[in-house]
Symmetry: D4
Subunit: 161 residues, 8 copies
């Protein structure tokens, strides 16, 4: 695969079952990515370096997933000017996901995080593809095909009832 455009990071390896969905849909849509563990709280310098060098390493977008007091997406967004997509993870230490959502979503003016639904790493991947597709017509067409597939599957299940 070519040079990664999307960096997928997560606060803990235990977030991988959720975050793998982002990788899978990016692969399906033909978007090169990298994936690793970066903890804002346990490896703050690693996080700092990851965010600081993301653009120069050729990344266009960062997808960051975390749970509980989830600071990873917001901190990465504070360091890089790339768009950051936040995935609130309903981890074992989360209060039904409310902490994960609020600590990712409620960023102050100046530092947005593009937040998707709880555990919705797949949508984070699709959103990353949509962002890249704003300057990539082929990817845009693959997204149109993907949307068409969604439609067909619903109509298929409707016809089976």
């Amino acid at each position: 695969m070519s040079n990664p455009k999307v960096g997928i990071i997560m606060g803990s390896k235990s977030d991988l079952p959720v975050m793998q969905d982002a990788a899978d849909i990016l692969k399906e849509l033909g978007v090169a990515y990298e994936i690793t563990v970066v903890s804002a709280h346990r490896t703050p310098e690693r996080m700092f370096n990851y965010a600081k060098t993301a653009a120069e390493r050729g990344l266009k977008i960062v997808i960051a997933g975390a749970g509980g007091a989830a600071h990873l997406p917001g901190m990465v967004a504070s360091i890089t000017h790339l768009p950051v997509i936040g995935v609130p993870v309903k981890s074992s230490n989360s209060i039904d996901g409310w902490d994960s959502i609020l600590s990712i979503l409620q960023m102050p003016n100046g530092i947005p995080v593009a937040t998707v639904a709880l555990n919705a790493a797949k949508n984070a991947g699709i959103l990353a593809a949509q962002i890249l597709a704003t300057s990539d017509d082929e990817l845009s067409n693959r997204l149109l095909d993907y949307k068409e597939d969604l439609r067909k599957k619903v109509e298929q299940s409707a016809s089976e009832m």
Copy 2:
């Protein structure tokens, strides 16, 4: 200004005091936009047409703000393949903003909405610029300058204490 790249829409004219922030920051960052009222509930066909033609009219991103049972961002995202940024508005009929947030954020797999904080239209504008900057180096530099200004203002207020 050149052809609009970002379409800003809102469910009601009463959302304008919030949504104007998106327009203002886009103007400041030199991104062409259009702004109008499109109600998912009161003008569903207008909403449908707006979303259906967004890409062909040259828009690259849609920013949609709404409050209460806020269906506008999600419905636009269901129709277009462009990235859609949702702004939950704490409108007068909203329950402290919780309904606005959840009905925009919690989209099903396949149809992401890039949700920002409650009333954070400014961040929606910045996020739109970040998305366009993934293929526009000049805009990317303006975003770096903007981040630098944020930093300086904090240091200025720190030095005044």
Copy 3:
């Protein structure tokens, strides 16, 4: 069975175990219905057409169930002038049902959705029958019998304690 009076739709086939209760009680009360899958987000045009033609196809009421950012009931209500009954479904991607409830209930002025309790598709069916019974004395009597049965069952269980 005669021409359907009630259209039961749901956002995903995975909502069927919940929504089947609406069909069952309508059958028990002798009300003709149809049931299918219509996704606001994955099949917006199908949703649009379903709602647009509901009245002319003879439907008197639409029951719509959905979970998470549940836009189906509200969007159908925005397109048809028929009464729409919304069933918030506690689907797997829902935050304990709060998102489902708020995104169905909190409709803006002008576009009501008659919302029932979380997962209460049975009550949606009974409400549809109550609506039809406002101009159907026989159905009205069947509803009185149904209420009488509820009473007897409680008294039966009381007598067994």
Copy 4:
């Protein structure tokens, strides 16, 4: 005006500023109604009698508004077989409306209440009209006109921006 078809009741006279909206829209749509105070908690017998005689007095629908531990809509629904529309009122003793909503919405199987948004008495009135319109073509046309007016007002405010 002719014999009332819709009975509007509320738990306290202090709910009138909210509940008047139901009366106003019904008047605008040409639907005869009656309006009074019935408290489930302070006048349980009056509530019982109101609900018990509602159908025989010619009412087709009851709209009931209440706040806090709001039992009026559900108790009326337990006694009459008419459709009952519940309006959660954000009264002074309510916790941001959450108690009003949950104690109206979360009715058990067998006894539905058609719940509308917090303070949305206007939507309760429209829903009552939609219910009556299932057997009244003229009213149905007035509702279509009303929907058309909503659309025009949005387009008007869009054209003014």
Copy 5:
């Protein structure tokens, strides 16, 4: 056992596993009780009669348990002048118990319900005994013994660590 002083009622037989705790502790404390099913929603007349005749039948206190939109405790309190203790039950149709709690607790001025913790039927029984003990010195002494036992059990478990 002597004439019952405490009436324990519940909205559904499915609440019995929770409500049995009230009966058990009353038995342990030597307080005569009766226990049955009374549904505010499915048997409103039975509920009305139960509450209306409670005092004349010699009951001094009513313990009422219910879940979801739990109207039983409040409606009984609206009809009788006896103290009513409400037990919010986390029933299968409840949203994590929030609806049960709020629809029992948030009674309007004039009509109190003495609410205990979610599913805390045991505490409802103890509270009933405390109320009767305000005019019964022997029962008062049994309550002091019960409190002493609680203390000893904690100290026992402390000594075992």
Copy 6:
């Protein structure tokens, strides 16, 4: 007035505007009371002594109001065997009253607090009177008159509409 039967205490003098309602209704119902400030957190020994001596001083019931992390009602209940009525106060440091409610209501098995609605000190007073009336027929009659007055006021306001 005779020897106080009800002790009204509150965590801070700032709770007095809420808690005065308990005193006023007790006076109206002819029940002797005392009222003072006792802080669980700032005067733990005073709280301990108040609760320890409450019964021997002739009190039959304690009404305790507090806000935020409201420990006063539960701690008094842990020390005395008298019934304790808790009033959650929406004080300035409370999060919309949720903390006040939950920290009073959710007592563990063995130590009930009879919780009333947020700020509902009036209902705490009525509940105290209902408890005393279980062994006082005159007070019982005054409560019946009070209920009758509530009814008449509603009917009066109904007749004025």
Copy 7:
């Protein structure tokens, strides 16, 4: 081990599986502790004595865990001037932990409780060590090593992906 510096207490022996984590990490960090059961509600005098004598017995910090209406941490803090660390426990009678958190966290001015995350007894232990390390350089170094270990583990799991 030397004289205990940290007292770990919990409201019930059923909290031990959670609270043991505090003991384990203190042992790992070489900090002497004691651990026992003290119930604010069932053994108020024991709680009073524990808190009153904590400082004179040589304790420097108290860690208190409790669930539901969790009064133990706040009451201990009201009696001793030592720093008190509160651990909200998601016990079986807790409403998803919200009651535990709010009744520990929301202490009034003058009486702080250092609250950690839901069930986070391990963090309570680390915080206690951090507090002692403000005057103990060796312990400070062990904490630096602990932080370094956290970092290495994340980098290890990153390298394995």
Copy 8:
């Protein structure tokens, strides 16, 4: 004043009216402090440096206040091994304080933040003094005096009622 022992930082100058309470009580208790603005999101490097050098500059404790998605306390705690006290601020962009609380409180294992009540900067100051008093007998005595003053003020207000 001597070398500061406590560093007070806040995410924005707009948090100063809340955070000043921490400074005031520390001054009253004779604890040297410094106070400044450090934004995790707008000045991440400044935050990083502040936390990295805190211990070597002689600070013993950091008090950090922030609102909304409040990452400052947790990020400082991730970098320094000093105890960090977090003050959730109910800032204008906060959802009633819930986001501020959850994003500070719900830290993962390994990285505690000692969280105090919403807006409770005064308690943060007291807690800092309690921590320093674990190795400072004079400060310990001043805290005992402070507690005694709290007690006297309550008894004074009790005697005035």
